[in-house]
């Protein structure tokens, strides 16, 4: 019997298929990029200078115990209420700052028993050695969120745009400095300076 010739397969469209697949994968794959909460540690201070006395009302204490329970200003609190409580504390503006200025942008209750001015308001956080890292990050996240919320609000009020978009723009143009934008960012950061201190856990 004579051999049968298989008809030749047209390979011309193969490249098209390949490109189609290539574009599909290009669109669907995401390059993993790490994200996280950026914080600065305090430098080691060996000097024997007496730390300044901070009034209790300017201090917002957050304690996390070994069972991952929160104690905020001597009261037990659920994590979901922490952000609101921190915002209220920072935004209180009950009195004047060190220069004797009142906080004219605060919208808080101006209660005399809470913080005087965002310049003076300090959030102090302390955790136990046995606290889980998960909880620790959640609390950090809520506290950073409180600052971000207030900064966002001021950016909207002063410059009518979101703080995040300003930071994004700064990031995008990092090689050509935009003085005006930098000034605006600094102004907002100064309105609500991030004073988030962490105490070392007790050794036990």
């Amino acid at each position: 019997m004579a051999k049968r010739a298989a008809p030749e397969v047209n390979a011309g469209s193969m490249a098209d298929i390949a490109f189609l697949l290539l574009i599909f994968f290009l669109v669907t794959t995401t390059i993993e990029k790490d994200k996280g909460i950026l914080r600065s540690l305090p430098p080691i201070d060996d000097s024997e200078v007496e730390p300044p006395i901070i009034k209790q009302k300017n201090l917002f204490t957050v304690l996390i115990n070994r069972n991952n329970q929160l104690l905020v200003e001597d009261e037990q609190m659920e994590l979901k209420n922490l952000r609101k409580a921190a915002i209220e504390f920072l935004d209180n503006g009950g009195d004047t700052n060190a220069e004797g200025e009142r906080c004219d942008y605060c919208r808080g209750k101006r209660s005399p028993s809470s913080s005087d001015h965002p310049d003076k308001a300090i959030i102090s956080m302390k955790h136990d050695r046995e606290t889980s890292y998960d909880k620790y990050i959640e609390v950090q996240n809520e506290l950073v969120a409180a600052y971000n919320f207030l900064r966002e609000r001021e950016a909207q009020r002063l410059y009518n745009r979101s703080f995040q978009s300003m930071l994004d723009e700064k990031e995008k143009n990092q090689f050509k400095k935009d003085e005006k934008l930098n000034d605006q960012i600094e102004t907002i950061k100064k309105l609500f300076p991030m004073k988030l201190s962490e105490a070392e856990p007790d050794k036990n």
């Binding site: 994200k35 046995e130 909880k135 070392e200």
Partner: protein, 154 residues
Amino acid sequence: MSKFKNKKQGDLPAISTASLPDIVFMLLFFFMVATVMRDSSLMIENILPSADQVEKLKKDRTTFIYAGKPSSQFKQFGDEPRIQINDAFVGIEDIRPAVLQAQADMNEELQSKIVVGLKVDKNTHAGLVSDIKQELRKANTLKVMYITNAKAEQ
């Protein structure tokens, strides 16, 4: 019906390989895009916690410290959370030289902006993290980033 008549029966024609380069290139591109460069293999469990107030990490100025329980292949190292830098478990006292070394290897203009990325398993106790932070303070590398998974905002 001559249209559908079989052609002359001949020998087997060769399959065209003209598109093979395309396929290979496609695969090449795909892997180029999809691979994440990882310079150290993890010897620990590393499920990151999640947060929504996140910033992007700048790879060029970051050095990583991992911490967590040794994973199942490394059970001989015990159950306690350990610290891993590059490819080895290290003790708490090795953090400072390792970080300073990483800083020295960096571009000169970035050395002062060094960020230490902490990739810590979420079931680790926070005491270990505070030990690490204490060492970083001693090394004077004060910027840390707690690397997290991004949580969708509510």
